[in-house]
């Protein structure tokens, strides 16, 4: 940690004055207009959330007939109760699935990407740049384009419609590898690795006890990226999964939303379900926000 904080200002200071000192010199007018633009965007982004919260607190009949931006009768908690009771609590199962896919998948993906990125940054071996270029190429290929080939491959080993069908592809994060390499190169000093080797630590022990800690801000960023990517991944579950008990929450809600024409009562459940399913994302963002910004900035600067 300390190595990171001390090394960064030194490298960035000579280039230009920091953003903060420049902001102070801005005249009042441009500062106000900047704030105004930001305020508009804040409202723009928060309005759907507000609508979701309001709509979630209404009975199904009121959703379409009352003011969409203000509460009618407060039924938020009974709606939540209905949601958890519907079809023996399948929604909770979906929520749990999502947490498992995104939480565990994100953690393992982060570790794998960190190891790969670290190896690419710190070891010299033939083909290193080629491997890195291939990984970089992977960043450019959208996950959606890979879903169908993955389905056909998983079909051959009979893993479709299993937990692994969504979990295994989630462990791959080319962008994480890229980020890890950049970050490892800048934040893990070679001298430190030399020292730990001299002290008799093996490469693996060095990685886990020294390097991983130095890379932790980047790890949090990578984890957040991957968590959000897996949480929102829609196409892969759509193609891979058929058993309802394996669905992640996003896909499950999509299925319900699809049935609105036949079962209009589901509208309320879809709304409250959507509200509950964004809460884990909000929580994880608030908790890890600090690191996220830190890591993002690092990736951008170097």
């Amino acid at each position: 940690m300390s190595a990171v904080t001390t090394s960064r200002p030194r490298s960035s200071a000579p280039r230009s004055d920091s953003p903060r000192s420049r902001a102070i010199r801005e005249p009042l007018v441009s500062r106000t207009s900047a704030m105004l633009v930001m305020a508009v965007f804040t409202v723009y982004f928060l309005l759907p959330l507000w609508w979701l919260l309001v709509a979630s607190s209404k009975s199904t009949g009121d959703i379409l007939t009352t003011n969409p931006l203000w509460f009618a009768d407060m039924r938020l908690f009974s709606n939540i109760g209905d949601l958890f009771a519907y079809r023996d609590g399948i929604f909770l199962r979906w929520l749990g699935n999502s947490l498992l896919y995104a939480g565990l998948g994100g953690a393992v993906a982060t570790l794998l990407a960190a190891m790969a990125g670290y190896a690419l940054a710190k070891y010299r071996f033939p083909g290193r740049e080629l491997i890195f270029d291939v990984v970089l190429g992977g960043v450019l290929v959208p996950a959606t384009a890979l879903a169908l080939p993955l389905f056909l491959i998983f079909s051959q080993v009979q893993l479709t419609n299993t937990f692994w069908a969504v979990f295994l592809p989630s462990l791959v994060s080319p962008f994480g590898v890229y980020l890890a390499r950049i970050f490892a190169a800048s934040s893990v000093p070679d001298e430190l690795l030399e020292a730990s080797r001299l002290d008799g630590a093996g490469e693996i022990r060095t990685f886990f006890t020294v390097s991983l800690r130095l890379m932790s801000p980047a790890l949090v960023t990578m984890f957040l990226f991957q968590f959000v990517a897996i949480w929102n991944n829609f196409f892969l579950p759509l193609i891979m999964l058929r058993s309802e008990e394996l669905f992640p929450v996003v896909f499950g809600l999509y299925g319900w939303n699809n049935q609105l024409n036949q079962i209009p009562e589901l509208r309320g459940l879809v709304l409250i379900g959507a509200l509950l399913s964004v809460i884990p994302l909000i929580v994880i963002f608030l908790l890890l926000q600090r690191f996220w910004r830190n890591g993002l900035g690092t990736g951008a600067l170097k």
Partner: protein, 444 residues
């Protein structure tokens, strides 16, 4: 009969002579359907996979599972067909791991047929015997290809009727239209009162197809020589011109269907009628809750006074997907699901499925008055309509594309450029080139 004989004998070791005799008997059961699946029972217990997006269907399947320990059915789910499940079926069929049974709407079934995605189950004697239990035209929706093949078991149908605001018609002394001419007259009176008689949907091409179906149009035809495409036949033209004139005179609203503004138009009594299928009953009650008790259902307006012809909008079948190892058990389950009173009752109560069998139309749960419709026994109207649907409407193999093309044209027509008839012509041309690009033979 023949397949029972086949297993009874084949199960036991017999002389080569007898075996040969049996095999001959087995193959002759495929008369009239050369490609029919060999419909022999499997040995021992069987587990079937069944993919459907009908909510609550697993409860109905549980009833079957308790009664049939040797044929267990596992329900799998996904989004509505066109929203992903059909594509999944095709992927799974290509990968060889498709479920044994799949929900397929009538308008999508020909696509599966031309892409070789569904088994011909005409070789199963139970299937052929069950034919008479179904509403005749519904059976025609699964008996495709003109060679005696059967590619699914009908599950539900969507006979159409006229939902109308009985309170408003009565209060303003407007007679409920029984013909499309009277419908225009009523539309003018309603427009003078500030309302619209109905909403013309730019996106529900299947509703429009329902009108064409009623008018006796034939969008597609299929026999051994290939497909005919006739989106612009005289009946379709007549329907298109009729609605075009209503649009031109501003007698119908043109909200996008299934949106909030569409719901509001009905809920606020701005729009007075909806020509829809039997399942539309629930769409109104949920979309326009403030109008409860004020709706009634009548027969669809007729083209000729005194006729009794209806159209169909929607409906689906249960098909045995290509590659299933247990077509015999699969069809047995599909027949139970769609013909037995217990299953049809449960499907109706769980998911508002409107049965496709003649007996099913008389279910006790469909004989009750419905409060939202002022206590009217609305399902009696639809049961009658179900027997009046023109019997031989055929869907094409590229309906998703056809719908999209026609819908584009309808949207343009509604906003004033082009006409509905132009849209059909464009749909006609685009459909033919879509078929040709898939090497599906088209007769011109």
């Amino acid at each position: 009969m023949k397949h029972k004989l086949f297993t009874a004998t084949a199960g036991v070791a017999l002389s080569a002579l007898l075996l040969a005799g049996c095999a001959g008997g087995g193959s002759s059961s495929g008369d009239g359907a050369a490609a029919a699946a060999d419909c022999a029972p499997s040995d021992g217990p069987v587990t079937l996979e069944f993919t459907s997006w009908i909510p609550g269907i697993e409860k109905v399947v549980d009833m079957w599972n308790t009664e049939n320990p040797d044929i267990q059915v596992k329900v799998q789910t996904g989004p509505n067909g066109n929203n992903g499940t059909y594509q999944n079926f095709f992927n799974q069929i290509a990968a060889g791991n498709a479920p044994d049974l799949g929900q397929i709407e009538y308008d999508a079934l020909p696509n599966f047929l031309v892409q070789d995605g569904v088994e011909n189950i005409a070789g199963c004697s139970d299937v052929v015997n069950a034919k008479d239990q179904f509403v005749g035209w519904a059976w025609n929706q699964v008996a495709l290809g003109g060679d005696g093949g059967v590619y699914g078991i009908p599950q539900d149908i969507g006979p159409m009727g006229l939902f109308y605001r009985s309170d408003l018609f009565e209060k303003n002394n407007i007679p409920v239209p029984t013909t499309w001419d009277e419908y225009t007259e009523a539309a003018k009176k309603i427009r003078a009162l500030g309302g619209y008689i109905t909403n013309f949907s730019q996106s529900d091409i299947n509703q429009f197809a329902g009108f064409v179906w009623q008018a006796g149009g034939q969008w597609f035809g299929n026999d051994a020589d290939g497909w005919t495409v006739s989106l612009t036949d005289p009946a379709s033209k007549k329907v298109a011109d009729y609605w075009q004139s209503l649009i031109d005179q501003d007698l119908v609203s043109t909200y996008p269907a299934w949106t909030d503004e569409w719901n509001n138009a009905y809920n606020s009594s701005q729009v007075w009628t909806w020509n829809s299928a039997v399942w539309g009953a629930n769409s109104i009650s949920s979309g326009a809750p403030d109008t409860a008790g004020n709706w009634s259902v009548a027969d669809l307006p007729q083209w000729k006074a005194g006729d009794a012809v209806s159209g169909n909008w929607g409906g689906s079948s249960i098909a045995v997907l290509k590659g299933s190892k247990h077509p015999y058990e699969a069809t047995k389950f599909a027949l139970w699901l769609n013909t037995s009173t217990e299953a049809l009752t449960a499907l109706n109560e769980e998911a508002n499925i409107y049965p496709a069998t003649t007996e099913g139309l008389k279910l006790p749960s469909l004989a009750k008055g419905v409060d939202f419709y002022g206590g009217q026994k609305i399902y009696d109207v639809f049961a009658k309509a179900a027997t009046e649907v023109t019997p031989d409407f055929v869907w094409g193999p590229t309906m998703t594309k056809t719908y999209a093309d026609v819908s584009d044209g309808f949207k343009a027509a509604v906003s004033g450029s082009g006409t509905l008839a132009d849209a059909l012509q464009k749909g006609q041309d685009a459909t033919i080139s879509a078929l040709e690009s898939q090497s599906i033979p088209v007769k011109k």
